[in-house]
Symmetry: C2
Amino acid sequence: MSHMGYGCLMPFDRDRVLRAAAALLTRKSTATMDEVAKAAGISRATLHRHFAGRDALVRALESLGIAECEAALEAARPDEGPARDAVRRLVREIEPAAGLLAFLYTENQLFEGEEQNEGWDRLDERITALFRRGQESGEFRIDLTPVWLTEALYGLVASHAWGVIDGRLAGKDFQYMIVELLLGGAARREES
Amino acid sequence: MSHMGYGCLMPFDRDRVLRAAAALLTRKSTATMDEVAKAAGISRATLHRHFAGRDALVRALESLGIAECEAALEAARPDEGPARDAVRRLVREIEPAAGLLAFLYTENQLFEGEEQNEGWDRLDERITALFRRGQESGEFRIDLTPVWLTEALYGLVASHAWGVIDGRLAGKDFQYMIVELLLGGAARREES
DNA sequence: CCTGTATGAGACATGAATGTCTCACATGGG
DNA sequence: CCCATGTGAGACATTCATGTCTCATACAGG
Protein backbone atom coordinates (compact mmCIF):
# COMPACT_ATOMS: atom_id res chain seq x y z
CA MET A 1 0.00 0.00 0.00
CA SER A 2 2.85 2.36 0.65
CA HIS A 3 5.63 1.51 -1.79
CA MET A 4 5.27 2.65 -5.35
CA GLY A 5 7.59 0.04 -6.83
CA TYR A 6 10.81 -1.86 -6.44
CA GLY A 7 12.58 -0.97 -9.65
CA CYS A 8 14.36 -3.55 -11.75
CA LEU A 9 15.35 -6.82 -10.16
CA MET A 10 18.87 -8.08 -10.56
CA PRO A 11 18.92 -11.56 -12.12
CA PHE A 12 21.28 -13.87 -10.31
CA ASP A 13 24.51 -14.62 -12.16
CA ARG A 14 26.65 -16.97 -10.11
CA ASP A 15 29.83 -16.22 -11.95
CA ARG A 16 29.36 -12.46 -11.76
CA VAL A 17 28.64 -12.65 -8.03
CA LEU A 18 31.72 -14.78 -7.39
CA ARG A 19 33.96 -12.38 -9.28
CA ALA A 20 32.58 -9.38 -7.44
CA ALA A 21 33.12 -11.20 -4.15
CA ALA A 22 36.65 -12.09 -5.15
CA ALA A 23 37.44 -8.51 -6.12
CA LEU A 24 36.11 -7.17 -2.83
CA LEU A 25 37.62 -9.83 -0.57
CA THR A 26 41.00 -9.37 -2.23
CA ARG A 27 41.01 -5.78 -1.06
CA LYS A 28 39.27 -6.38 2.29
CA SER A 29 39.40 -9.98 3.41
CA THR A 30 37.12 -9.27 6.39
CA ALA A 31 34.27 -7.91 4.28
CA THR A 32 30.78 -8.70 5.52
CA MET A 33 28.20 -10.78 3.69
CA ASP A 34 26.25 -7.53 3.43
CA GLU A 35 29.19 -5.77 1.80
CA VAL A 36 29.72 -8.68 -0.56
CA ALA A 37 26.07 -8.55 -1.55
CA LYS A 38 26.21 -4.80 -2.17
CA ALA A 39 29.41 -5.19 -4.19
CA ALA A 40 27.71 -7.85 -6.30
CA GLY A 41 24.61 -5.70 -6.74
CA ILE A 42 22.26 -8.18 -5.12
CA SER A 43 20.50 -8.36 -1.78
CA ARG A 44 21.89 -10.22 1.20
CA ALA A 45 18.87 -12.52 1.09
CA THR A 46 19.62 -13.62 -2.46
CA LEU A 47 23.29 -14.04 -1.67
CA HIS A 48 22.32 -16.29 1.20
CA ARG A 49 19.88 -18.27 -0.96
CA HIS A 50 22.70 -19.40 -3.24
CA PHE A 51 25.52 -19.72 -0.72
CA ALA A 52 24.53 -21.34 2.55
CA GLY A 53 26.90 -19.11 4.48
CA ARG A 54 30.17 -17.33 4.48
CA ASP A 55 32.02 -20.63 4.55
CA ALA A 56 30.20 -21.86 1.49
CA LEU A 57 31.02 -18.63 -0.32
CA VAL A 58 34.71 -18.92 0.46
CA ARG A 59 34.64 -22.56 -0.60
CA ALA A 60 33.04 -21.57 -3.88
CA LEU A 61 35.76 -18.97 -4.39
CA GLU A 62 38.34 -21.63 -3.63
CA SER A 63 36.87 -23.90 -6.27
CA LEU A 64 36.79 -21.02 -8.72
CA GLY A 65 40.41 -20.21 -8.04
CA ILE A 66 41.45 -23.82 -8.48
CA ALA A 67 39.50 -24.07 -11.70
CA GLU A 68 41.08 -20.92 -13.10
CA CYS A 69 44.53 -22.13 -12.14
CA GLU A 70 43.94 -25.45 -13.80
CA ALA A 71 42.65 -23.71 -16.91
CA ALA A 72 45.73 -21.50 -16.92
CA LEU A 73 47.91 -24.56 -16.54
CA GLU A 74 46.16 -26.24 -19.46
CA ALA A 75 46.56 -23.17 -21.62
CA ALA A 76 50.24 -22.95 -20.69
CA ARG A 77 50.97 -26.45 -22.04
CA PRO A 78 53.52 -27.17 -19.28
CA ASP A 79 54.90 -30.24 -21.04
CA GLU A 80 55.73 -28.57 -24.33
CA GLY A 81 58.98 -26.94 -25.29
CA PRO A 82 61.58 -25.49 -22.96
CA ALA A 83 60.53 -25.35 -19.31
CA ARG A 84 61.37 -21.66 -19.08
CA ASP A 85 58.94 -20.88 -21.87
CA ALA A 86 56.29 -22.97 -20.16
CA VAL A 87 56.79 -20.98 -16.96
CA ARG A 88 56.50 -17.79 -18.97
CA ARG A 89 53.21 -18.98 -20.46
CA LEU A 90 51.94 -20.11 -17.08
CA VAL A 91 52.52 -16.71 -15.47
CA ARG A 92 50.84 -14.99 -18.39
CA GLU A 93 47.80 -17.22 -18.24
CA ILE A 94 47.51 -16.97 -14.48
CA GLU A 95 47.45 -13.19 -14.38
CA PRO A 96 43.64 -12.80 -14.55
CA ALA A 97 43.31 -14.97 -11.46
CA ALA A 98 46.11 -13.25 -9.53
CA GLY A 99 43.85 -11.22 -7.26
CA LEU A 100 41.71 -14.20 -6.38
CA LEU A 101 44.81 -16.28 -5.72
CA ALA A 102 46.24 -13.59 -3.46
CA PHE A 103 43.07 -13.69 -1.40
CA LEU A 104 42.97 -17.49 -1.17
CA TYR A 105 46.67 -17.57 -0.37
CA THR A 106 46.01 -15.78 2.91
CA GLU A 107 42.92 -17.74 3.89
CA ASN A 108 45.00 -20.16 5.89
CA GLN A 109 41.83 -21.25 7.63
CA LEU A 110 41.10 -23.18 4.46
CA PHE A 111 43.86 -25.58 5.39
CA GLU A 112 42.81 -26.15 8.99
CA GLY A 113 39.83 -28.46 8.73
CA GLU A 114 40.23 -31.95 7.40
CA GLU A 115 38.11 -31.05 4.41
CA GLN A 116 40.79 -29.16 2.52
CA ASN A 117 40.29 -29.12 -1.19
CA GLU A 118 42.54 -31.65 -2.88
CA GLY A 119 42.66 -29.43 -5.95
CA TRP A 120 45.59 -27.56 -4.45
CA ASP A 121 47.58 -30.76 -4.20
CA ARG A 122 46.92 -31.53 -7.85
CA LEU A 123 48.02 -28.03 -8.85
CA ASP A 124 51.10 -28.13 -6.66
CA GLU A 125 52.02 -31.46 -8.15
CA ARG A 126 51.72 -30.25 -11.72
CA ILE A 127 53.62 -27.02 -11.16
CA THR A 128 56.28 -28.84 -9.19
CA ALA A 129 56.59 -31.30 -12.07
CA LEU A 130 57.18 -28.40 -14.44
CA PHE A 131 60.10 -27.11 -12.39
CA ARG A 132 61.42 -30.64 -12.00
CA ARG A 133 61.31 -31.09 -15.75
CA GLY A 134 63.33 -27.92 -16.12
CA GLN A 135 65.92 -29.28 -13.73
CA GLU A 136 66.15 -32.60 -15.51
CA SER A 137 66.55 -30.91 -18.87
CA GLY A 138 69.41 -28.83 -17.46
CA GLU A 139 67.60 -25.52 -17.81
CA PHE A 140 67.16 -24.89 -14.07
CA ARG A 141 69.62 -25.17 -11.25
CA ILE A 142 69.18 -28.16 -9.00
CA ASP A 143 69.97 -26.52 -5.67
CA LEU A 144 66.57 -24.79 -5.54
CA THR A 145 63.94 -27.45 -4.93
CA PRO A 146 60.85 -27.62 -7.16
CA VAL A 147 58.66 -27.33 -4.06
CA TRP A 148 60.30 -24.05 -3.12
CA LEU A 149 60.07 -22.72 -6.66
CA THR A 150 56.36 -23.52 -6.65
CA GLU A 151 55.87 -21.80 -3.33
CA ALA A 152 57.89 -18.82 -4.54
CA LEU A 153 55.75 -18.58 -7.66
CA TYR A 154 52.60 -18.30 -5.55
CA GLY A 155 54.27 -15.75 -3.31
CA LEU A 156 55.47 -13.57 -6.16
CA VAL A 157 52.07 -13.67 -7.83
CA ALA A 158 50.37 -12.59 -4.59
CA SER A 159 53.00 -9.94 -3.89
CA HIS A 160 52.62 -8.38 -7.30
CA ALA A 161 48.83 -8.46 -7.08
CA TRP A 162 48.92 -6.57 -3.78
CA GLY A 163 51.48 -4.14 -5.07
CA VAL A 164 49.15 -3.33 -7.95
CA ILE A 165 46.17 -2.92 -5.62
CA ASP A 166 48.14 -0.57 -3.40
CA GLY A 167 49.37 1.38 -6.39
CA ARG A 168 53.04 0.59 -5.88
CA LEU A 169 53.35 -1.53 -9.02
CA ALA A 170 52.00 -1.32 -12.54
CA GLY A 171 49.65 -4.08 -13.63
CA LYS A 172 51.17 -4.29 -17.08
CA ASP A 173 54.49 -5.45 -15.63
CA PHE A 174 52.95 -8.56 -14.06
CA GLN A 175 54.34 -11.22 -16.35
CA TYR A 176 57.71 -9.63 -16.99
CA MET A 177 58.60 -8.80 -13.38
CA ILE A 178 57.56 -12.17 -12.02
CA VAL A 179 59.10 -14.30 -14.74
CA GLU A 180 62.36 -12.38 -14.91
CA LEU A 181 62.84 -12.51 -11.16
CA LEU A 182 61.76 -16.12 -10.82
CA LEU A 183 63.91 -17.38 -13.67
CA GLY A 184 66.73 -14.87 -13.93
CA GLY A 185 67.03 -13.32 -10.49
CA ALA A 186 68.17 -9.84 -9.66
CA ALA A 187 71.89 -10.29 -10.20
CA ARG A 188 73.24 -9.05 -13.47
CA ARG A 189 74.42 -11.74 -15.87
CA GLU A 190 78.12 -12.14 -16.43
CA GLU A 191 79.20 -10.71 -19.71
CA SER A 192 80.76 -13.84 -21.12
CA MET B 1 35.56 -19.89 51.06
CA SER B 2 35.36 -22.76 48.63
CA HIS B 3 38.55 -22.65 46.59
CA MET B 4 41.68 -24.06 48.13
CA GLY B 5 44.08 -21.93 46.09
CA TYR B 6 44.90 -20.49 42.74
CA GLY B 7 48.31 -21.97 42.15
CA CYS B 8 51.21 -19.94 40.88
CA LEU B 9 50.49 -16.63 39.16
CA MET B 10 52.08 -15.86 35.85
CA PRO B 11 54.08 -12.61 35.98
CA PHE B 12 53.39 -10.40 32.99
CA ASP B 13 56.20 -10.25 30.43
CA ARG B 14 55.20 -7.97 27.58
CA ASP B 15 57.78 -9.31 25.18
CA ARG B 16 56.93 -12.93 25.88
CA VAL B 17 53.22 -12.26 25.40
CA LEU B 18 53.81 -10.45 22.12
CA ARG B 19 55.92 -13.30 20.78
CA ALA B 20 53.35 -15.89 21.76
CA ALA B 21 50.65 -13.80 20.10
CA ALA B 22 52.76 -13.48 16.97
CA ALA B 23 53.40 -17.21 16.82
CA LEU B 24 49.70 -18.00 17.19
CA LEU B 25 48.40 -15.31 14.85
CA THR B 26 50.89 -16.37 12.19
CA ARG B 27 49.25 -19.78 12.15
CA LYS B 28 45.68 -18.60 12.71
CA SER B 29 45.16 -14.95 11.91
CA THR B 30 41.59 -15.03 13.23
CA ALA B 31 42.54 -16.26 16.69
CA THR B 32 40.45 -14.89 19.56
CA MET B 33 41.74 -12.74 22.38
CA ASP B 34 40.94 -15.72 24.57
CA GLU B 35 43.09 -18.01 22.44
CA VAL B 36 45.91 -15.48 22.42
CA ALA B 37 45.75 -15.25 26.20
CA LYS B 38 45.84 -19.04 26.55
CA ALA B 39 48.74 -19.28 24.12
CA ALA B 40 50.62 -16.68 26.15
CA GLY B 41 49.82 -18.47 29.40
CA ILE B 42 47.95 -15.56 30.92
CA SER B 43 44.30 -14.78 31.52
CA ARG B 44 42.17 -12.79 29.16
CA ALA B 45 41.73 -10.15 31.86
CA THR B 46 45.45 -9.56 32.15
CA LEU B 47 45.85 -9.51 28.40
CA HIS B 48 43.18 -6.85 28.24
CA ARG B 49 44.78 -4.85 31.05
CA HIS B 50 47.93 -4.34 29.00
CA PHE B 51 46.44 -4.09 25.52
CA ALA B 52 43.28 -2.02 25.31
CA GLY B 53 41.82 -4.31 22.67
CA ARG B 54 42.55 -6.46 19.71
CA ASP B 55 43.47 -3.43 17.66
CA ALA B 56 46.00 -2.31 20.22
CA LEU B 57 47.48 -5.81 20.28
CA VAL B 58 47.88 -5.89 16.52
CA ARG B 59 49.35 -2.40 16.57
CA ALA B 60 51.85 -3.52 19.18
CA LEU B 61 52.76 -6.48 16.99
CA GLU B 62 53.16 -4.11 14.08
CA SER B 63 55.54 -1.95 16.09
CA LEU B 64 57.44 -5.03 17.17
CA GLY B 65 57.74 -6.24 13.60
CA ILE B 66 58.96 -2.86 12.41
CA ALA B 67 61.46 -2.66 15.23
CA GLU B 68 62.82 -6.13 14.47
CA CYS B 69 63.09 -5.30 10.79
CA GLU B 70 64.94 -2.10 11.53
CA ALA B 71 67.25 -3.95 13.87
CA ALA B 72 67.87 -6.55 11.16
CA LEU B 73 68.57 -3.78 8.70
CA GLU B 74 71.04 -2.19 11.08
CA ALA B 75 72.79 -5.49 11.68
CA ALA B 76 72.96 -6.09 7.94
CA ARG B 77 74.92 -2.87 7.31
CA PRO B 78 73.16 -2.23 3.97
CA ASP B 79 75.64 0.43 2.91
CA GLU B 80 78.77 -1.64 3.31
CA GLY B 81 80.41 -3.81 0.71
CA PRO B 82 78.78 -5.35 -2.35
CA ALA B 83 75.00 -4.98 -2.46
CA ARG B 84 74.52 -8.71 -2.97
CA ASP B 85 76.34 -9.42 0.26
CA ALA B 86 74.22 -6.84 2.05
CA VAL B 87 71.07 -8.54 0.77
CA ARG B 88 72.46 -11.85 1.99
CA ARG B 89 73.06 -10.40 5.44
CA LEU B 90 69.64 -8.77 5.49
CA VAL B 91 67.83 -12.03 4.77
CA ARG B 92 69.86 -13.80 7.43
CA GLU B 93 69.13 -11.18 10.05
CA ILE B 94 65.45 -11.00 9.17
CA GLU B 95 64.82 -14.72 9.57
CA PRO B 96 63.80 -14.61 13.28
CA ALA B 97 61.08 -12.13 12.41
CA ALA B 98 59.85 -14.00 9.34
CA GLY B 99 56.75 -15.47 10.97
CA LEU B 100 55.70 -12.16 12.43
CA LEU B 101 56.28 -10.46 9.09
CA ALA B 102 54.21 -13.06 7.31
CA PHE B 103 51.32 -12.31 9.65
CA LEU B 104 51.61 -8.55 9.32
CA TYR B 105 51.95 -8.87 5.56
CA THR B 106 48.41 -10.21 5.33
CA GLU B 107 46.85 -7.75 7.77
CA ASN B 108 45.91 -5.45 4.94
CA GLN B 109 43.47 -3.80 7.31
CA LEU B 110 46.50 -2.12 8.81
CA PHE B 111 46.76 0.00 5.70
CA GLU B 112 43.14 1.04 5.52
CA GLY B 113 42.81 3.68 8.21
CA GLU B 114 44.70 6.92 7.88
CA GLU B 115 46.78 6.01 10.90
CA GLN B 116 49.09 3.62 9.13
CA ASN B 117 52.45 3.28 10.77
CA GLU B 118 55.04 5.30 8.88
CA GLY B 119 57.68 2.78 9.95
CA TRP B 120 56.85 0.70 6.89
CA ASP B 121 57.63 3.61 4.62
CA ARG B 122 61.00 4.09 6.29
CA LEU B 123 61.78 0.40 5.89
CA ASP B 124 60.63 0.31 2.29
CA GLU B 125 62.77 3.32 1.56
CA ARG B 126 65.91 1.80 3.05
CA ILE B 127 65.48 -1.59 1.39
CA THR B 128 64.64 0.04 -1.90
CA ALA B 129 67.79 2.14 -1.55
CA LEU B 130 69.82 -1.03 -1.11
CA PHE B 131 68.56 -2.48 -4.37
CA ARG B 132 69.05 0.85 -6.10
CA ARG B 133 72.62 0.94 -4.86
CA GLY B 134 73.14 -2.51 -6.35
CA GLN B 135 71.83 -1.28 -9.67
CA GLU B 136 74.04 1.78 -9.69
CA SER B 137 77.10 -0.28 -8.86
CA GLY B 138 76.34 -2.57 -11.79
CA GLU B 139 75.65 -5.64 -9.64
CA PHE B 140 71.91 -5.79 -10.30
CA ARG B 141 70.00 -5.56 -13.52
CA ILE B 142 68.14 -2.34 -14.10
CA ASP B 143 65.02 -3.75 -15.73
CA LEU B 144 63.66 -4.97 -12.37
CA THR B 145 62.67 -1.94 -10.33
CA PRO B 146 63.88 -1.57 -6.74
CA VAL B 147 60.27 -1.26 -5.59
CA TRP B 148 59.42 -4.61 -7.12
CA LEU B 149 62.51 -6.25 -5.67
CA THR B 150 61.54 -4.96 -2.24
CA GLU B 151 58.00 -6.26 -2.64
CA ALA B 152 59.33 -9.58 -3.87
CA LEU B 153 61.63 -9.85 -0.88
CA TYR B 154 58.68 -9.48 1.48
CA GLY B 155 56.69 -12.00 -0.54
CA LEU B 156 59.45 -14.59 -0.59
CA VAL B 157 60.04 -14.21 3.14
CA ALA B 158 56.35 -14.73 3.85
CA SER B 159 56.10 -17.63 1.41
CA HIS B 160 58.98 -19.45 2.97
CA ALA B 161 57.67 -18.83 6.49
CA TRP B 162 54.32 -20.37 5.57
CA GLY B 163 55.96 -23.25 3.79
CA VAL B 164 57.90 -24.01 6.96
CA ILE B 165 54.75 -23.77 9.10
CA ASP B 166 52.91 -26.14 6.77
CA GLY B 167 55.84 -28.54 6.74
CA ARG B 168 56.56 -28.20 3.03
CA LEU B 169 59.90 -26.46 3.50
CA ALA B 170 62.82 -26.83 5.90
CA GLY B 171 63.52 -23.90 8.19
CA LYS B 172 67.26 -24.23 7.80
CA ASP B 173 67.02 -23.41 4.08
CA PHE B 174 65.51 -19.99 4.75
CA GLN B 175 68.43 -17.77 3.86
CA TYR B 176 69.83 -19.87 1.03
CA MET B 177 66.58 -20.45 -0.84
CA ILE B 178 65.42 -16.84 -0.61
CA VAL B 179 68.73 -15.22 -1.44
CA GLU B 180 69.60 -17.58 -4.28
CA LEU B 181 66.21 -17.14 -5.90
CA LEU B 182 66.05 -13.40 -5.34
CA LEU B 183 69.56 -12.74 -6.63
CA GLY B 184 70.31 -15.62 -8.95
CA GLY B 185 66.93 -16.83 -10.16
CA ALA B 186 65.99 -20.34 -11.13
CA ALA B 187 67.68 -20.46 -14.52
CA ARG B 188 70.99 -22.19 -14.66
CA ARG B 189 73.98 -19.96 -15.28
CA GLU B 190 75.67 -20.16 -18.63
CA GLU B 191 78.94 -22.07 -18.51
CA SER B 192 81.17 -19.34 -19.85
C1' DC C 1 52.90 -9.84 60.16
C1' DC C 2 50.43 -6.60 57.39
C1' DT C 3 49.55 -4.10 53.10
C1' DG C 4 49.61 -2.76 48.32
C1' DT C 5 49.81 -4.44 43.81
C1' DA C 6 48.83 -7.53 40.17
C1' DT C 7 46.88 -11.69 38.56
C1' DG C 8 43.09 -15.45 37.58
C1' DA C 9 38.51 -16.68 37.24
C1' DG C 10 34.25 -15.61 36.02
C1' DA C 11 29.94 -12.87 35.45
C1' DC C 12 27.81 -9.38 32.66
C1' DA C 13 26.47 -6.20 29.01
C1' DT C 14 27.31 -4.71 24.32
C1' DG C 15 27.72 -4.86 19.46
C1' DA C 16 28.33 -7.00 15.13
C1' DA C 17 27.70 -10.60 11.90
C1' DT C 18 25.14 -14.34 10.86
C1' DG C 19 21.25 -17.17 9.65
C1' DT C 20 16.15 -17.51 9.14
C1' DC C 21 11.89 -15.81 8.22
C1' DT C 22 7.91 -13.18 6.03
C1' DC C 23 5.95 -10.30 2.70
C1' DA C 24 5.58 -7.18 -1.33
C1' DC C 25 6.79 -6.97 -5.90
C1' DA C 26 8.81 -7.96 -10.61
C1' DT C 27 9.35 -11.08 -14.42
C1' DG C 28 8.39 -14.69 -17.67
C1' DG C 29 5.61 -18.46 -19.36
C1' DG C 30 1.32 -20.59 -19.95
C1' DC D 1 -4.80 -12.61 -18.15
C1' DC D 2 -3.11 -15.50 -14.31
C1' DC D 3 0.25 -18.05 -11.95
C1' DA D 4 4.84 -19.79 -10.65
C1' DT D 5 9.34 -18.49 -9.71
C1' DG D 6 12.72 -15.54 -7.87
C1' DT D 7 14.20 -11.24 -5.93
C1' DG D 8 14.51 -7.03 -2.52
C1' DA D 9 13.65 -5.20 1.82
C1' DG D 10 13.43 -5.72 6.35
C1' DA D 11 12.33 -7.79 10.90
C1' DC D 12 13.93 -11.16 14.11
C1' DA D 13 16.57 -14.39 17.01
C1' DT D 14 21.09 -16.37 17.75
C1' DT D 15 25.75 -16.70 18.23
C1' DC D 16 30.20 -15.05 19.30
C1' DA D 17 33.94 -11.91 20.26
C1' DT D 18 34.66 -8.05 22.72
C1' DG D 19 35.04 -4.93 26.53
C1' DT D 20 34.11 -4.00 31.49
C1' DC D 21 33.42 -5.28 35.94
C1' DT D 22 33.94 -7.63 40.67
C1' DC D 23 36.16 -10.57 43.83
C1' DA D 24 39.30 -13.99 45.70
C1' DT D 25 44.04 -15.03 45.76
C1' DA D 26 49.17 -14.78 45.33
C1' DC D 27 53.38 -12.30 45.79
C1' DA D 28 56.71 -8.61 47.21
C1' DG D 29 58.05 -5.11 50.30
C1' DG D 30 58.01 -2.83 54.50
